[in-house]
């Protein structure tokens, strides 16, 4: 079930775009961590540093009208889907102009205008929501697909079984992507996961599954392109497992003391951005060009962070808005 990404003819422009995007994601999250340090973000921040290849390799194979749902660790996916970094950072800081007017924050980051139907604070909950989106898409005969990205910890919750079974029973246009970073918070998922793992579970539910090196954006790009095409063609759901590693703690507050330093150091040597840079350098791209991506990304995200810091709080009425139409708390909240 493992993808062999070589030999391949590289589409350099596309790879350069991936490199830019991965740096934008990393720079965004470094700014978010900064905001956390400066106590401008009080809620939990779950960085995807080290997992950017999945956002780039998977999500760029989705069209803007395709649907994506994500997890608590969803900044990268959301940026890759095309959300505005400024609005996202304002959301993280709980400011007016945030994607959700500061009402959801990092764990509920969403931008419906680009088909990003939300990160979710409940592990595995987005699997059902994606199956439902795919169900609606098929029912309406629309030409688009729905993609759900979730972690390796999510495969032990009921929705993994119920949602995947549903998607296959109804042969829905759904793409399921498991970000297997080896951990669920402080727990090594292998210690709490029985059997051969995510791919075998998906196949036992009749869904073709593929395991990919989640730090190899080229392999992910190819695997997702093929899987998404099959789903788009009406072939029913597909499943991809992307093996990766969470380079930071579970949250900004987690020192991740439960992992040996060597393990983390080794993982850094497998940094997906560095790997892509190496590939591009080998292909003759100038180091200057690559360094430029990093510089531009940092400049962009510093500005994005400054903008968010300067942004006002949402007006207090917002606390009572968008609850419900019938029984609107703005009419009677008690």
């Amino acid at each position: 079930m493992s993808a062999t990404p070589t030999p391949r003819n590289l589409d350099l422009d596309r790879l350069l775009d991936h490199h830019k995007l991965m740096w934008r994601i990393r720079a965004f999250e470094e700014a978010a961590l900064q905001a956390n340090t400066e106590k401008l973000v009080l809620g939990a921040i779950h960085p995807s540093i080290g997992q950017e290849a999945i956002a780039a390799g998977v999500v760029t194979n989705l069209r803007v009208d395709d649907i994506l749902s994500s997890t608590h660790r969803g900044h990268g996916h959301t940026l890759a889907k095309g959300a505005d970094a400024k609005a996202m950072m304002r959301e993280l800081l709980g400011r007016e102009g945030g994607t959700s007017h500061g009402k959801g924050g990092s764990m509920h980051i969403a931008d419906f205008s680009v088909g990003m139907l939300g990160a979710n604070g409940v592990v595995a909950a987005n699997i059902h929501i994606t199956a439902g989106a795919a169900h609606a898409i098929k029912m309406k005969g629309e030409d688009r697909i729905a993609c759900s990205i979730f972690g390796d910890g999510a495969i032990n919750r009921g929705p993994f079984l119920e949602g995947l079974n549903w998607a296959k029973v109804f042969e829905l246009p759904a793409l399921f992507v498991c970000e297997d970073n080896g951990f669920a918070s402080t727990t090594r998922t292998a210690s709490m996961t029985a059997g051969p793992g995510p791919a075998a579970r998906a196949e036992a539910l009749g869904i073709p599954a593929l395991e990919v090196d989640g730090n190899d954006v080229i392999a992910l790009d190819e695997a997702t392109r093929d899987a998404a095409a099959a789903v788009r063609a009406g072939g029913g759901p597909r499943f991809i497992v992307a093996k990766t590693y969470r380079l930071t703690g579970h949250t900004a507050a987690d020192p991740a003391a439960y992992r040996p330093a060597e393990e983390v150091a080794a993982a850094w040597r497998n940094d997906p951005i560095a790997r892509l840079a190496q590939t591009l350098a080998d292909a003759g791209i100038k180091g200057e060009a690559l360094a430029g991506h990093e510089r531009d990304a940092r400049t962009e995200m510093e500005a994005v962070y400054d903008d968010a810091k300067a942004a006002p709080w949402p007006p207090l009425e917002r606390a009572f808005a968008d609850v419900q139409d019938v029984g609107d708390p703005r009419v009677d909240a008690y």
Binding site: I67, T99, V122, H128, I129, M139, W166, D325, G327
Partner: protein
């Protein structure tokens, strides 16, 4: 003006709404054969298996899929079979359906109707008899409807389906066969109580199957010269404070009667609200009549001991007027 059963009324309303709006569909176990209570009989033939969809035994998926399908432009009617089984899908209803619109800053609404047949129904025991309507009144984002008659089940089902909010729609299993006249084709307003009968000595507020006990009680009482104004709340959230206040201002006395457990029941919300708002106008303390805090037993006599009955309501009413 036609006569139909409570089940037929819900079914007819659903069928009409499905004809009116192609994005309305229903999903649940065994719907392809008309549903376990026949509340979908004929609809699979009329609308086909896509719009009247079977489902695996996966309440969490049924609810969660409905949420995803609702934010993707359809209007799912979710069949939970028994309100008790909805407890397998609480995250999907409370953390997802009820909160999505708010968490996402209004980027989407979640127009789903969650049908949860409720209540005591012939020796179904503790896991098939619960009435947990008060739970949903406590959850921001949810609308809660508990119809007691065919005409209300027809009109409120229509409104629930047209409502853009997630609606917990609780039909009472003991009322499926109840016949009544359905004299309008329009949706009924959500949040409006029905004045079942006018009276002056006291107000009785009830909903769902217990309304029928209250009707019997009111008849007995009027024979004894106690004139009861009976309100069928119909909608628990939002609830019709205006009509309840208006009535209690007139009568000065209030009994709230419901089948569900009294402790933490919605009767407490009504009693607390009225006791505060109409403090001066009350001639007697507001009285709640609900079930004792015990699970529902299987043996009929034990099941009967926890019921709120016409006799119990009448007795409480007499005690109240002679206080």
């Amino acid at each position: 003006m036609v006569t139909m059963t409570y089940a037929e009324a819900g079914r007819t309303a659903l069928a009409e709404e499905m004809q009116r709006d192609p994005t309305v569909w229903a999903l649940g176990e065994d719907l392809g054969r008309g549903g376990v209570f026949g509340q979908y009989a004929g609809l699979p033939e009329q609308f086909g298996p896509v719009r009247i969809s079977d489902a695996p035994i996966s309440e969490a998926a049924i609810m969660g899929v409905a949420v995803g399908a609702a934010i993707t432009g359809t209007r799912p009617v979710v069949e939970m079979r028994f309100a008790d089984f909805a407890l397998c899908a609480v995250d999907e209803l409370v953390n997802q359906a009820a909160k999505a619109r708010y968490m996402f800053g209004g980027q989407s609404k979640v127009p789903i109707v969650v049908r949860e047949p409720m209540g005591i129904w012939r020796s179904s025991a503790a896991q098939h008899s619960q009435s947990l309507e008060s739970w949903y009144t406590h959850i921001p984002g949810l609308v809660v409807i508990c119809p007691s008659s065919p005409v209300d089940n027809y009109g409120l089902m229509k409104s629930a389906i047209r409502c853009d909010d997630p609606v917990v729609y609780m039909e009472h299993k003991n009322l499926w066969a109840l016949e009544g006249e359905v004299d309008n084709n329009d949706p009924l307003p959500i949040g409006r109580a029905r004045i079942v009968r006018k009276g002056d000595d006291m107000t009785v507020v009830s909903w769902s199957a217990t309304v029928h006990e209250a009707v019997t009680a009111a008849e007995t009482l009027s024979a004894d010269g106690v004139s009861v104004e009976l309100l069928d709340l119909r909608t628990l959230w939002p609830w019709d404070k205006d009509r309840v206040f208006e009535s209690v201002r007139k009568t000065g006395r209030l009994i709230v009667a419901h089948e569900s457990v009294q402790a933490g029941g919605f009767g407490a919300e009504i009693a607390a609200t009225v006791s505060e708002a109409l403090f001066g106008a009350l001639k007697a303390p507001v009285k709640r009549l609900g079930a004792p805090r015990v699970p529902i037993a299987y043996a009929p006599p034990l099941e009967d001991t926890v019921r709120v009955t016409a006799a119990g309501i009448a007795e409480a009413a007499r005690a109240m007027v002679t206080e």
